[in-house]
């Protein structure tokens, strides 16, 4: 059975996180799932969002621009994942790829004793120009609890040199300071076994794609490209302020 390379990274700075994900989209040879976290905590803006719309954030808030679409996320204590695969591994229709991956995360959470549901109805899962936070307004196919939205997702798709997809997911462990309205795994009222959560997410995402998990490491070429992208793009204020 073909494999899903699993990268489990320690918490890292926002620009580095985004640079690694772009490098994986660009040159990863194997289907790759990267699990990571953010330190210091930071806000990521969707690709088309305007920086000026976030001028009211507290001074010193770290902000980075994501390659993927959708709304902004305050990345606090969360399990973030980046899936970089050839497009043929996912449903051809963009909208159909979300339920596939969201159900995988839902099943992973169920394995950890955490219940949530995927919204079968509601507005289309899209960025809304009038709503700047990704988690503010659950839409169709979002994972939710009674408290609200639990998982944020967005994608970047390229077709040259071959069709590829980068899928971002943010699974909230504790409500972040700037978006305290979100649902989180802490709502269940018991400690979170993070190692088990990572294992289950990887296993269920791999199963959804028909792959088997194999732990791996970032390659030298991927690391070098990420370092270039980090310095040339994601650390640059002009890149964050491009819109």
């Amino acid at each position: 059975m073909p494999y899903l390379r699993l990268l489990v990274d320690p918490p890292a700075e926002a620009a580095w996180n985004m640079a690694v994900d772009e490098a994986l989209l660009a040159i990863a040879e194997a289907p790759t799932l990267r699990l990571y976290a953010w330190w210091p905590h930071a806000v990521s803006l969707g690709w088309f969002q305007r920086l000026a719309d976030f001028a009211d954030l507290p001074p010193g808030t770290r902000i980075v621009r994501r390659l993927t679409g959708g709304g902004a996320i305050h990345h606090g204590d969360e399990l973030t994942f980046a899936l970089a695969v050839d497009a043929e591994l996912l449903p051809h229709e963009v909208a159909a790829s979300y339920p596939l991956l969201h159900d995988a995360v839902k099943d992973a959470l169920a394995s950890c004793g955490i219940a949530c549901e995927r919204l079968a109805a509601g507005p289309a899962p899209r960025a809304r120009p009038g709503q700047r936070w990704c988690f503010a307004d659950p839409g169709r196919d979002d994972l939710v609890t009674a408290r609200g939205k639990l998982l944020g997702s967005a994608q970047r798709r390229v077709t040259q040199p071959r069709p590829r997809v980068l899928h971002h997911g943010s699974l909230v462990l504790q409500p972040p300071a700037l978006t305290p309205f979100v649902a989180s795994l802490a709502d269940a009222g018991r400690p979170i076994d993070r190692e088990r959560l990572r294992r289950e997410v990887a296993a269920h995402v791999a199963r959804a794609l028909g792959l088997q998990v194999r732990q791996g490491l970032l390659s030298g070429a991927e690391g070098a490209l990420a370092a270039d992208l980090c310095g040339a793009r994601y650390e640059q204020a002009a890149f964050t302020a491009q819109r």
Binding site: F48, T68, G69, G70, A124, A127, R157, T159
Partner: protein
């Protein structure tokens, strides 16, 4: 059958070349699979585009997709009304939803005629 007065890329862009100027857009197949378009970014007049490189981006269902140039050359016009009227892409992808016009310096060697593109779309599903 899609219009046979133009050429297509497998990545679902079309171009119609008249008097050295290529009018470029995306096909109904692309629009159907993206669904629910929200944002579109096009290059400015005077910008250069290159075969196989992205000339713009479009967002639907929280997915940003790159748009690829079927020709190289200088952008001589961009459809500035389109980002505010994305429903045109569903209504008339081969007409008023054109995206950019480019003064052609070279063409992609991978351009398909309408019949071959049709076959590609059927294979892709």
């Amino acid at each position: 059958m899609r219009p046979n007065d133009r050429k297509y890329l497998k990545s679902h862009e079309w171009c119609k070349i008249e008097n050295g100027i290529a009018t470029i857009g995306i096909t109904d197949h692309a629009v159907a699979h993206l669904s629910d378009l929200v944002f579109l970014d096009l290059p400015n007049k005077g910008a250069s585009v290159k075969v196989g490189e992205s000339f713009g981006e479009i967002e639907s269902v929280k997915a940003v997709s790159s748009l690829y140039a079927p020709v190289s050359g200088e952008v001589v016009d961009a459809n500035r009304s389109l980002p505010d009227n994305l429903d045109w892409l569903s209504q008339e992808p081969f007409g008023k939803a054109w995206m950019i016009k480019v003064k052609v310096s070279s063409q992609s060697p991978d351009l398909l005629d309408a019949k071959t593109y049709e076959t590609h779309c059927q294979a892709e599903g």
